[in-house]
């Protein structure tokens, strides 16, 4: 079974802090993704990566950056956390072969910015 592990289930941080969310997958997937999920807005893509050191912006990249130094690990960074970044953050991974491969998700990090 595919396993996508997010480092924290719950996280509370303060406004202005630099926040790191970590994600690791064990299936040798090339593609990795970060989404945020908010009530009424559904899942929205923040960033994705299709290879080590490669990244592409999603629909809502402002205020975020990412890092992919190793194939299995994809980090999301909130450069200076703000209250409107309070959300559920979901990491996913999939095989490279085209865009029609299912994505497998971690259990999410519920982040609160105070």
């Amino acid at each position: 079974d595919v396993k996508v592990t997010q480092s924290s289930r719950y996280l509370v941080k303060r406004t202005g802090e630099k926040v790191f969310l970590e994600c690791v997958q064990d299936m040798d997937h090339e593609n990795m993704f970060w989404y945020r999920q908010d009530p009424g807005l559904g899942l929205r893509l923040i960033y994705f990566s299709y290879d080590v050191k490669m990244k592409e912006k999603g629909d809502i990249p402002e205020g975020y950056s990412v890092s992919r130094e190793k194939k299995e690990r994809f980090s999301l960074i909130l450069e200076s956390a703000s209250t409107n970044q309070t959300s559920m953050y979901l990491c996913a991974s999939s095989f490279q072969q085209g865009s029609n491969q299912p994505q497998h998700f971690g259990d999410g990090t519920r982040l609160s910015i105070l």
Binding site: F33, L45, Y50, N100, P102, H104, F105
Partner: protein
């Protein structure tokens, strides 16, 4: 722009009462449609991929079907443990390799 719309937003069923969830989409060239189940406080769990109109997939009490404009998730004789939010998604344009999700149907099955 690719759009995915799910209905109803919420559905309450009695145990054993069969029903269907709808996912309609507008995409330029469908490259697959995915169904996921999401339990509260968890990430989406992959259920099915459908690639072409007329295709069907089954898993226990769930059956997914696909036409050129929409997909249905049929739930036969549901049990309380089928209570969850069901999401459908389609691939974004090829270069982005990510998914566009519908807003989901929140299903509650009462004993």
């Amino acid at each position: 722009e690719d759009q995915v719309t799910q209905s109803p937003e919420a559905l309450r069923l009695q145990e054993g009462e069969s029903s269907s969830l709808n996912c309609s989409y507008t995409v330029s060239g469908l490259r697959g449609l995915f169904w996921y189940r999401q339990d509260p406080g968890k990430g989406p769990e992959f259920l099915f991929t459908l690639y072409s109109a007329g295709e069907e997939k089954e898993k226990e009490r769930l059956k997914a079907t696909l036409t050129k404009k929409e997909s249905f998730l049929h739930i036969t004789a549901p049990k309380p443990e089928d209570s969850a939010t069901y999401l459908c998604a389609v691939p974004m344009d090829m270069g982005r390799r990510a998914l566009t999700f519908g807003s989901g149907t929140r299903l509650q099955v009462q004993p």
